[in-house]
């Protein structure tokens, strides 16, 4: 079964410092990996994806993620954190072979709360 794990419930960083939010995955075959952000009382906003190609993926709002096949990781990073980055972050993997049909099902991690302090 395909899964993702976010080992940290919360990450605290000071504004201006680099941030990393960790994600590891377990899939059969090539992984399709995603990061989403959720602000309070809001839906999920897409940040970036890894499908194939360069291991360093650049996304929205200055975020990037590094795909590491040997470590089965897809950590989210930003060189300089902003207070406005404080939110709930989800890593997800596509389950392309669910049952007998291809689907667009996403499997999400538990989420990591990012707190950026001034």
């Amino acid at each position: 079964a395909q899964s993702v794990a976010q080992p940290e419930d919360q990450v605290n960083v000071a504004e201006g410092n680099p941030l990393t939010v960790k994600c590891t995955y377990s899939v059969s075959g090539n992984p399709y990996l995603f990061w989403y952000v959720q602000y309070p009382n809001r839906g999920l906003q897409f940040l970036l994806k890894y499908i194939t190609g360069d291991n360093l993926v650049k996304g929205s709002y200055g975020f990037e993620a590094e795909f590491n096949k040997s470590q089965t990781s897809f950590h989210l990073k930003k060189p300089s954190a902003l207070v406005s980055d404080s939110a709930l972050y989800f890593c997800a993997v596509r389950d392309l072979f669910h049952g007998s049909s291809n689907t667009g099902k996403l499997i999400f991690g538990q989420g990591t709360t990012l707190q950026v302090k001034p």
């Binding site: 989800f90 667009g104 099902k105």
Partner: protein, 113 residues
């Protein structure tokens, strides 16, 4: 263009009642997926519909059902509500069945008392 819209925004129901949640996808998108997000957890996949047909179903009881209309909007129905059904219900739309880009609506917050 409008994004994914969901209605209602908030809903309070009593145990045993029935609820219908609605979703309108982005114009031109043919696929709608439903997710349940319980407080403190990641979203869990409930259904995916594409071209009005169910194309995927998560591990949810038969009390949960959905349908997609000719205009690609969708309804999620939950019968015999339980306290544990209290959650944020998210709808996501995508252009195709396995399109990598999925766009989420703001969700419907369901509280069951």
């Amino acid at each position: 263009d409008a994004g994914v819209t969901q209605s209602p925004t908030h809903l309070i129901k009593t145990r045993g009642q029935h609820v219908t949640l609605r979703c309108s996808p982005i114009s031109g998108h043919k696929s709608v997926s439903w997710y349940q997000q319980v407080l403190g957890q990641g979203p869990q996949f409930i259904f995916q519909y594409y071209e009005k047909e169910e194309r995927g179903r998560g591990n949810f009881p038969d009390r949960f059902s959905a349908r997609q209309f000719p205009n690609y909007s969708s309804e999620l129905n939950v019968n015999a509500l339980l306290l544990g059904d209290s959650a944020l219900y998210l709808c996501a739309s995508s252009a195709q069945l396995t399109a990598h880009e999925q766009y989420f609506g703001p969700g419907t917050r369901l509280t069951v008392t």
